[in-house]
């Protein structure tokens, strides 16, 4: 009898094992169209025509909406609702942003979001790492059963359980504490993230036992081994889990909408929707842009890792 359940994923994505590298240099990989056809004059002309078309299409579909938001907040209110709309603001103003900052109390909501996301991230790193280490290396009794139970939650769609999860938060069993309107309502459920825990466990499984045995013989305890040996080796996977954890909280809407009825506690996503009805259009757009900045900046900073992770994590060799 094997000790561990058969893993759903045969091996962790390459991106987690090695540092993501740049997209492979232009190897002359043969694709759909033959290089020969591309080398001919007609092929070249077609290629550049398609290239231009794709560039224009992408710019229109993905970049233009962003441009429209950023400039929309800079138009005076009457210009923003004019038809036909102006492509470039006739008068540039920053009032859309400054008013959003004050009127919609963005500092409060941004701070709430930061607190919720950071706490969820820290708790996930601490508890998921510890649990994954235990499941991977410490051979707890019933470890296989526990891992099976954790993996089974992957099968259960998150959103289908929001109602009982909400009732649990509203009245924690046994201790009867109400966590509504408390950041803990975001932090604790975030730890129950089977995907991240499993990612960590698979990574730890690859660390050879000899290394840990050696540390143990040198007199290191379990915690010391985790801290000084396992974690430094796991930097790539910790990075991936961190990004997942932060993005998940920042982008979530239904769950914070349920648990934060108190406006002062709401994260930016909930506040935007709740206040969207009673502020002028330019102010709302300004707030939308500000709400998008942190995640977009993070994406641009780590885009290579994120894109390599998505590409590698999903293909199966």
């Amino acid at each position: 009898m094997t000790q561990t359940a058969p893993p759903p994923v045969q091996r962790p994505p390459a991106a987690l094992v090695q540092r993501p590298v740049d997209a492979p240099a232009e190897r002359s990989v043969r694709t759909l169209v033959s290089p020969l056809a591309l080398a001919r004059w007609r092929g070249k002309a077609t290629y550049w025509a398609v290239f231009t078309l794709v560039t224009v299409l992408f710019a229109f579909a993905f970049l233009f909406p962003v441009y429209w938001m950023v400039t929309g907040a800079m138009k005076p209110p009457e210009e923003a609702v004019r038809t036909p709309p102006t492509l470039v603001p006739e008068q540039w103003r920053v009032t859309g942003y400054t008013e959003a900052w004050d009127l919609m109390r963005l500092p409060t909501h941004l701070w709430n979001t930061v607190v919720q996301a950071t706490g969820a991230w820290v708790l996930q790193i601490v508890f998921c790492t510890a649990a994954a280490y235990a499941l991977s290396k410490l051979k707890p009794a019933f470890g296989t059963v526990i891992l099976g139970g954790i993996l089974a939650t992957l099968m259960v769609p998150v959103q289908a359980l929001v109602v009982p999860k909400y009732l649990t938060i509203a009245d924690l069993p046994l201790i009867h504490v109400n966590l509504l309107n408390d950041p803990l309502a975001i932090w604790l459920p975030a730890v129950a993230n089977a995907f991240n825990l499993y990612l960590l466990k698979r990574f730890f499984d690859q660390i050879p036992r000899d290394v840990l045995e050696a540390a143990e013989i040198d007199g290191a305890g379990r915690l010391r081994t985790l801290w000084s040996i396992v974690l430094p080796l796991s930097r790539p996977v910790l990075g991936v889990v961190s990004i997942f954890a932060l993005v998940a909280v920042w982008q979530d809407f239904l769950w914070p909408l349920m648990v934060f009825s108190d406006t002062d506690k709401q994260p930016i996503s909930v506040a935007l929707v709740q206040l969207s009805q009673n502020v002028p259009l330019t102010v709302l757009i300004g707030a939308m842009v500000i709400a998008s900045i942190p995640m977009v900046l993070m994406f641009l900073a780590f885009q290579r890792h994120i894109i390599a992770g998505i590409s590698a994590g999903s293909t199966k060799g």
């Binding site: 398609v50 508890f127 109602v163 649990t168 036992r209 143990e216």
Partner: protein
């Protein structure tokens, strides 16, 4: 099936001839060397590491899953004692005219999102894979909408669809096409939401297809070309069969994701016009937070759970045996 709680001692492989480590090299607890004592100490350590994560799973994953089934058969409002009501919740939910509408809308949404959300990203990935320049730029740009918070995407498109100052109709007028009611028409509202969801989420799909396309050996295309296959035939007989597995995977994941759609209808249309965009999850939300009927909400959740778990099980089965 052995369920022993005694882990086998780790096999330390030593090069032949090396001296075995002294017996007391393994750090032992205080007191006499009794294996059972060590084992208990080891187990205590292991569970100390497990405790935090395990507790969160018990409280926020396993217990709610069991509880949703229990409350589905109870009359329950927070603060009062639950009463068993048998299948009354289910019959009440079934009789709600919105119930049929919500399932119909959710399934329509899922099918539309599947068709649009498969075709567009796949063609996009095919074309991008042929381009030899600015690859990184295209990847970043296509993934940009995914990083914009879903709420912002929804509000942005709500503004685009605005009948007055909306850009969507402005573009149609510019192209001399008839304008549309978009989210204000009962027959176009759902499709309008599918467009939003596709725009916001297709970046990941495109990147995954791109990675899959890059794994196709070039010899296959060469061989097909030597056999005189046209461009279309190469797509049809080389590309699609080679990426069939990943297409199926993504379709299943998309079905699971789109059946839980909530943000777009909640933010953009509020379920209207004429309930044409009420989805199952939206209805669950309404039962719980507008009608304060947690029994009904749980009954609906259980139904959604059953449908989606079937797809999830299929997905896990397929990814396990590749």
């Amino acid at each position: 099936m052995k369920t022993t709680s005694q882990p086998a001692p780790p096999a330390v492989t030593r090069p032949a001839g090396a001296t075995p480590p002294p017996r007391d090299a393994r750090p032992a607890g205080r007191g006499p060397h009794r294996p059972w004592r060590r084992r208990i100490a080891d187990q205590a350590t292991a569970y100390a590491f497990l405790a935090g994560g395990l507790l969160c799973f018990i409280l926020f994953s396993w217990y709610p899953a069991v509880r949703s089934v229990i409350i589905a058969f109870q009359k329950y409002t927070p603060g009062s004692d639950p009463q068993w009501v048998g299948t009354a919740n289910f019959t009440r939910v079934f009789q709600d005219p919105e119930f049929a509408a919500a399932w119909r809308n959710t399934l329509t949404f899922t099918v539309l999102a599947l068709v649009i959300g498969f075709a567009i990203p796949f063609v996009m990935a095919l074309v991008l894979n042929e381009l030899r320049h600015a690859k990184a730029f295209f990847r970043v740009v296509v993934y940009l909408p995914v990083m914009i918070p879903p709420v912002v995407s929804a509000l942005l498109w709500k503004w685009f669809y605005d009948p007055g100052a909306g850009l969507a109709n402005e573009v149609l007028r510019f192209l001399h096409l008839p304008t549309s009611n978009w989210t204000n028409g009962a027959d176009t509202a759902l499709l309008s939401l599918v467009i939003v969801a596709t725009w916001a989420n297709m970046g990941g799909t495109v990147l995954i297809y791109l990675a899959a396309l890059q794994g196709i050996p070039g010899e296959l295309y060469e061989a097909a070309e030597l056999d005189g296959a046209s461009l279309w035939q190469r797509v049809r007989h080389v590309t699609v069969p080679q990426t069939r597995f990943i297409i199926l995977m993504l379709m299943l994941l998309q079905i699971i994701a789109t059946m839980q759609v909530f943000t777009e209808p909640f933010v953009i249309t509020g379920g209207g016009p004429e309930n044409s965009t009420v989805t199952v999850l939206y209805l669950i939300y309404k039962y719980a937070f507008l009608y304060n009927d947690f029994g009904g909400a749980s009954a609906l959740s259980v139904l959604l759970l059953l449908v989606l778990s079937a797809f999830s099980a299929l997905y896990l089965r397929l990814t396990r045996t590749d």
